[in-house]
């Protein structure tokens, strides 16, 4: 069944010097009779953009929840740079450099857009408790940097004019963009995006792609789950296809687009609006 | 014409509000009577009433407010902890406090000689009542084993301890002592146990509502044991229970009973019934006598000066409606008479009015 997945691992030239940044093996999670993730193997190379596609309900989001610690009922191994992060608390995993967005958008409704963006960085700016309380010079310095970066990012995603407004009053797509900006505020090792451009205007999708490419060039690794095939194919170095909780195929975008099984299981009728 | 200001601190809201309400009836009645006869020092008495919610900190606030308002003296507080909290306040300000209901022994310990000379207590302590109760119980000869049920407050604990001690002295065995939280509504469990413990009597130290629940459930569960301890039969619920025979064979020593057959008491009861449609309760009686004792002291002092009134209070000699004469001892504690009653069927008989000391 998963011969391609298995042989794929064998065929690939081993890179002994650089183990994958994120390595997931035999990941499982079931809910009653539903085996949402059913022995998933996944590797994300450092510095890559890896796309992940698959039909609705095939277990993509569940897998992300397992990797990032939000789902406590998973089994299997999850390694970041060779070290296990399975069963760690989500905030520790985030601090370790694995950050994710949520498919069902989450922003802090009662905070301003700028604050929302700034919050993405506050656990990573190296300040300790006393700095903000005593408003030390170091704190002011960091605040200035955070603000500058937040403003720049908001500008890029088209929210520059909205920075003073409450995040709760944004439109759906704007919230999505805000969540994305927030997660990009710090410099995580790997960013996992769960449908970052669903509901985003096509023109903006191009700009997001540009932004991600730029950040990737600067060293950030991405794992992107998306149903926008064009976006995934254009951006990814490798694409992993999931089906029924496991890996159905993986390869370069070109390879995937030729794969019969993928066309049948996912894209539907071989075209799927490509 | 200026009035003589008397302050009242009473629990008018909160868990023991009914006590405060009845105390106010007695207080108001006494003040009306005195004013009708020309008041004290030729001036009417004016009451300033404040709600202390039976809460010590509110009690302090109230005491301060009353003192501020220029009262000559303060009556009440009713709850022991409220009295205890107000004591240092009145001492500092030099205002007499007359308390007729709070039972905590530490009030007496702290009052009078070597302590706080501004606090006076009229009611007998539960210890004295318990001794009288047990003595009478022993004299009946039929009760050898008793169980104690008391609320877990200073009132309940103090009463239970006093009763146990008195029982021991008389060779009556205490088979069990149960404390329950104030406001407990269900006693079926305790009653189940007591019903099987062989106790011939159950001594109660409970707030009226809890006692009524207890007695009603005891009756329904068919637990056969006479009731004793600190009981009274006033108030609608208890009157009904009494009428239904739920208190049959009960014996109690209590600071007051409306059945006491003195002219003064009969008149007092009649007045209250006329005014409120309800017979007098202990708190009304206490409120009434608090006012009279205080008014007499002001009259004797000849001036509404607080220190003079305090001095006059120490020399109190007041003829209580129960028949005794109230005087204060070194600790400013009066030893009023108390009442032993028993119930046969639904009929309350005052067996004895005895002096406490």
């Amino acid at each position: 069944m998963d011969s391609l997945a298995a042989s794929d691992g064998v065929l690939r030239p081993a890179a002994p010097t650089a183990p994958p940044l994120l390595k997931v093996a035999e990941l499982r999670r079931s809910f009653g009779a539903v085996r949402a993730v059913d022995g998933l193997d996944l590797e994300v190379e450092a510095g890559s953009i890896t796309g992940m596609i698959g039909p609705n309900g095939c277990g993509k989001t569940t897998a992300v929840n397992c990797i990032t610690g939000f789902d406590r009922g998973c089994s299997g191994s999850v390694e970041l740079q060779g070290r296990s992060i399975a069963r760690r608390q989500p905030e520790e995993i985030a601090r370790g450099g694995v950050m994710r967005t949520f498919q069902a958008i989450r922003v802090f409704d009662g905070f301003s857009v700028l604050e929302n963006a700034a919050m993405g960085r506050q656990c990573f700016d190296g300040l300790r408790l006393q700095h903000p309380i005593l408003r030390t010079p170091r704190f002011r310095q960091v605040e200035r940097e955070t603000r500058a970066r937040a403003e720049a990012l908001l500008e890029t995603v088209g929210l520059g004019a909205k920075k003073g407004e409450l995040a709760g009053s944004l439109s759906y797509g704007q919230k999505k963009l805000l969540a994305l900006a927030g997660i990009l505020m710090s410099e995580p090792k790997i960013v996992i995006l769960d449908e970052p451009v669903a509901g985003v205007n096509p023109t903006m999708v191009h700009e997001i792609a540009e932004l991600l490419r730029r950040l990737n060039a600067a060293g950030t690794t991405f794992l992107i789950i998306e149903h926008n095939i064009e976006f995934v194919m254009a951006l990814s170095d490798r694409v992993v296809v999931m089906d029924r909780g496991r890996r159905l195929a993986s390869g370069t975008p070109a390879e995937i687009q030729q794969d019969e099984r993928v066309l049948e299981a996912y894209l539907g009728g071989g075209d799927g609006g490509l | 014409q200026e009035a003589v200001q008397i302050g009242v601190s009473a629990p008018l809201t909160g868990p023991v509000a009914h006590g405060g309400e009845h105390e106010m009836r007695g207080i108001r009645l006494a003040v009306e009577e005195i004013n009708a006869k020309g008041g004290v020092l030729g001036k009417p008495i004016a009451l300033t009433v404040e709600d202390n919610q039976c809460n010590p900190s509110v009690s302090v606030t109230v005491a301060n407010k009353l003192i501020e308002d220029g009262v000559v003296a303060i009556i009440g507080a009713q709850c022991s902890s409220a009295v205890l909290a107000a004591m240092p306040v009145v001492q500092k300000a030099g205002v007499p406090l007359v308390s007729g209901i709070a039972t905590s022994p530490s009030i007496t310990e702290k009052a009078g000689i070597g302590g706080n000379p501004w606090v006076f207590r009229l009611n007998p302590s539960d210890r004295e009542l318990a001794v009288a109760d047990v003595n009478y119980l022993a004299s009946l000869g039929s009760v050898k084993r008793v169980a104690i049920v008391a609320e877990s407050t200073d009132y309940g604990r103090g009463g239970a301890e006093a009763f146990a001690k008195a029982a021991e002295a008389k060779g009556i065995e205490v088979v069990s002592t149960d404390f329950h939280p104030l406001g407990a509504a269900d006693f079926t469990t305790i009653l189940t146990r007591l019903g099987r413990s062989g106790a011939q009597a159950i001594a109660l130290y409970q707030a009226p509502a809890d006692r009524a629940n207890f007695v009603r459930q005891k009756e329904a569960l068919g637990v056969k044991a006479a009731l004793t301890g600190k009981l009274n039969f006033a108030g609608e619920a208890h009157e009904k229970l009494l009428a239904d025979g739920a208190f049959d064979q009960a014996v109690t020593a209590f600071p007051y009973a409306p059945e006491v057959d003195t002219p003064a008491n009969k008149a007092f009861v009649a007045k209250l019934v006329a005014k409120y449609g309800e017979t007098s309760q202990y708190e009304s009686f206490a409120g009434y006598e608090e006012v009279y004792v205080l008014a007499a002291a002001i009259e004797r002092a000849g001036t509404p000066d607080r220190a003079a009134v305090r001095a006059a209070l120490t020399k109190t000699s007041y003829a209580s409606m129960l028949g005794g004469t109230i005087t204060f001892d070194d600790h400013d504690q009066a030893h009023n008479k108390a009442v032993i009653s028993r119930v046969d069927g639904s009929k309350v008989t005052v067996v004895d009015v005895f002096s406490t000391n």
């Binding site: - | 009433v49 709600d51 919610q53 900190s57 003192i67 205890l84 909290a85 300000a93």
Partner: protein
């Protein structure tokens, strides 16, 4: 010009300080001072609830528990261990901190509703303990006759044993604690706590150690409440189990909600209004509690978002933006 006077807010603050300091000299009423002193204590207590509820979003009925524990630990430190009142306050803070950490360990994973129940159960357990552990707490009678706080500095001696000095002591305590809380909450720490309240999952995904922050909020709030409780019992000169009364919880909650969850100055204003209000209503004797209830109901009807909401609404009218709620709601 001193910096405090440069902004209108600073000026207001200065005015307030002058008023607070001058008040005892302007009025000779011990009763009024007593009410004001109470207002100081309850404002601090309410502010401690604001830390954990208004900011971190955990409705804790344990605050009154800590307040009571503070009272008892303070009293026992003085009566049993022979410490000074200040030792009592420190001990109160320390014990409360330990208790807060312990209770946090069990309760912080709970849903918000479950947390409420646990915090109530915790307080009621403490009350039971105060009531029933008679050997230590003296049971329902409480521990009366607590000494007044005093300062002994070599030959210098000062006792806070009259209304005015006690008022100043309470004022100093309130100013210090409120300033500390204000400093912490107005900084990024306050924002972090509010993140927990708004969306804990999102906060965790951004790396916020939510458990640690909740413990921080619980501990901070507990220490403040306990120290206030300790000072309060020396002010009253008695501690007894009614210090755990729901009355205090209700008062705190009402202050925090009327002030506006997570607000600072409006909450302080609410603290004063709501402590003074029942006293003002005393003129009407038995029905005063009914008036009080009616005032609460009217409060909800006319200021549904508390004092803070009132201010915010006024500010909004002058600027645009900000989110307005959707019409109607269940």
């Amino acid at each position: 010009m001193p910096p405090a006077m440069r902004s209108p807010k600073g000026l207001l603050l200065l005015l307030l300080a002058v008023l607070a300091l001058a008040y005892p000299f302007a009025s000779s009423s011990g009763y009024h001072l007593n009410v004001l002193t109470n207002a100081l204590f309850f404002t601090v207590l309410a502010m401690s609830l604001n830390v954990i509820y208004g900011y971190a979003g955990l409705l804790s009925f344990a605050q009154v528990g800590f307040w009571g524990v503070g009272g008892y630990v303070g009293a026992l430190t003085v009566t049993r261990l022979g410490g000074s009142v200040w030792d009592g306050m420190l001990a109160a803070g320390a014990v409360a901190l330990l208790l807060a950490i312990a209770i946090s360990a069990v309760s912080l994973r709970l849903s918000n509703h479950a947390f409420v129940i646990v915090s109530i159960a915790f307080t009621l357990l403490l009350q039971l303990l105060a009531q029933e552990w008679i050997d230590v707490t003296n049971g329902p009678m409480g521990i009366p006759g607590l000494p007044a706080p005093e300062i002994v500095l070599g030959p210098l001696y000062f006792a806070f044993d009259d209304r005015t000095s006690q008022y100043f002591l309470a004022l100093a305590f309130a100013a210090a604690t409120l300033a500390a809380i204000g400093l912490v909450l107005s900084s990024r720490v306050g924002r972090t706590l509010r993140m927990l309240k708004h969306d804990e999952t999102l906060a965790r995904s951004l790396g916020v150690r939510t458990t640690r922050w909740k413990v921080f909020a619980a501990g901070f709030a507990a220490v403040v409440a306990a120290m206030a409780g300790a000072l309060y019992v020396f002010y009253l000169s008695i501690v007894d189990p009614t210090i755990f009364d729901v009355y205090y919880t209700q008062l705190m909650l009402v202050i925090v909600i009327v002030g506006g969850l997570g607000s600072f100055w409006p909450m302080i204003a609410a603290g004063f209004v709501l402590v003074v209000l029942p006293e003002v209503l005393r003129t009407s004797d038995e029905v005063r509690m009914i008036y009080y209830g009616v005032v609460l109901i009217a409060g909800v009807l006319f200021f549904p978002r508390g004092f803070a909401g009132l201010l915010a609404a006024r500010r909004r009218r002058h600027s645009s933006g900000g989110r307005l709620g959707q019409p109607g709601s269940i």
